[in-house]
């Protein structure tokens, strides 16, 4: 399963509740990662274009597409491992297309459903092309907008017991700050 399917399952089944006030009044736009779009379409027969937009739509009141979009969208410029490669100038030159697309939407929020794309847009393009945007992972956008209800006592107790057993089994010991005494 991929991230979209799991997030959609949680939203559709009501397992997470979204506070639509969180990003209210902010214009968003979405980026189509090559691997979830074109390449997934070629390899698996389905490109994940609608899913990105559906999830964004559950969270944001207003969002616009870039032009071109979906299967014709531009790569962020950091794909194929380019984020990690030494060709920084080429990577930023490549990204000018994405930067133009984003700037043209006038959006304040850019939703990037891929680690590479998020890094390129947030840490590369924003600064280099002087974009006035905030970049979010798609799951970050969801995590930031869900209403979290603390678990009940019974659940918490059960979890504490399980976690204690687990860390003991792995031999992980956290230093207890209360018991720490300074060396002589």
């Amino acid at each position: 399963m991929n991230v979209f399917e799991l997030m959609m399952e949680y939203i559709k089944e009501g397992r997470v509740k979204i506070d639509r006030e969180k990003f209210a009044g902010k214009l968003a736009t979405v980026h189509d990662p090559c691997n979830y779009g074109r390449k997934s379409e070629k390899t698996f027969g389905h490109g994940y274009y609608d899913e990105i937009r559906w999830i964004t739509d559950q969270i944001c009141d207003t969002w616009v597409d870039t032009y071109p979009t979906r299967e014709n969208n531009f790569c962020c410029g950091a794909g194929g491992g380019a984020w990690a490669m030494p060709y920084t100038n080429e990577r930023l030159y490549y990204g000018r297309k994405k930067a133009e697309q984003i700037a043209d939407t006038g959006a304040e929020i850019v939703v990037a459903p891929c680690h590479n794309c998020r890094d390129q847009i947030m840490k590369g393009l924003t600064k280099d092309f002087d974009l006035d945007i905030e970049t979010f992972y798609l799951w970050e956008l969801l995590a930031e907008s869900i209403i979290v209800e603390p678990w009940n006592e019974e659940e918490v107790e059960k979890a504490h017991k399980e976690s204690e057993e687990q860390w003991e089994r792995f031999g992980v010991e956290l230093e207890d700050e209360d018991e720490w005494t300074p060396p002589e």
Partner: protein
Amino acid sequence: MSQEPIKLGKRESKLRVDPKWADVCLTCGTCAGGCPVTGVDGMDPRKAVRMAALGLDDELINSRFPWVCTLCGRCERACPMGVEILAMMRKARGLRERDKVPGPIHKGTMMSMERGNNLGIPYDDWLFLLADMSKEMEDEGFPGFYVPVDKVGARVISTVNSKEPFGEPDDMKFWWKIYYAAHESWTVSSENWEGVTWGLFGGDDESMKEQARRVLENGRKVKAEVLLLPE
């Protein structure tokens, strides 16, 4: 000056490009027109296809172009003749001598094969980080939260992008918050938890298969129904 003629043929081609591509490709330039790095090093996808069809395999393999290209596939998508430019580019990457693969892509792939993640995060550090951050989450308003490791019977098993525990550990909390709110039964692995397959980018099929095998094995061990690749 005499020079050996270049033999053309699908068998001779290291890139497995049939010389017929010279006819299939109409040289219309649609690919080049839509590629953001057309012009870098005087190259473009159309020229790369021509080079391959004309037997200039080594010249293409040793050029920067297959690496400046991000394998985004926009060229191939637009090609009216269905030329498989993307597979050719990746093949060219795979044929680069391994010690000449740019950046950390190959080193990371080997690291992943040896230590189970691209950045070589040790087993003990990984577990300590998860235990420590679990406690942090509880203090931040998620009572009862902890990261289940190798939990048999979990519905969802998730891989991890090693850049997060390495450099941006707080970013792991986004998914953790979602799991918490959804009351999900989930887990991560103590070993071989890497979710980023650099073998894909380096053209290293064997390492890619091995990494996929390990991730699947982890999933089977805990009998998970859902394998999540948050990459």
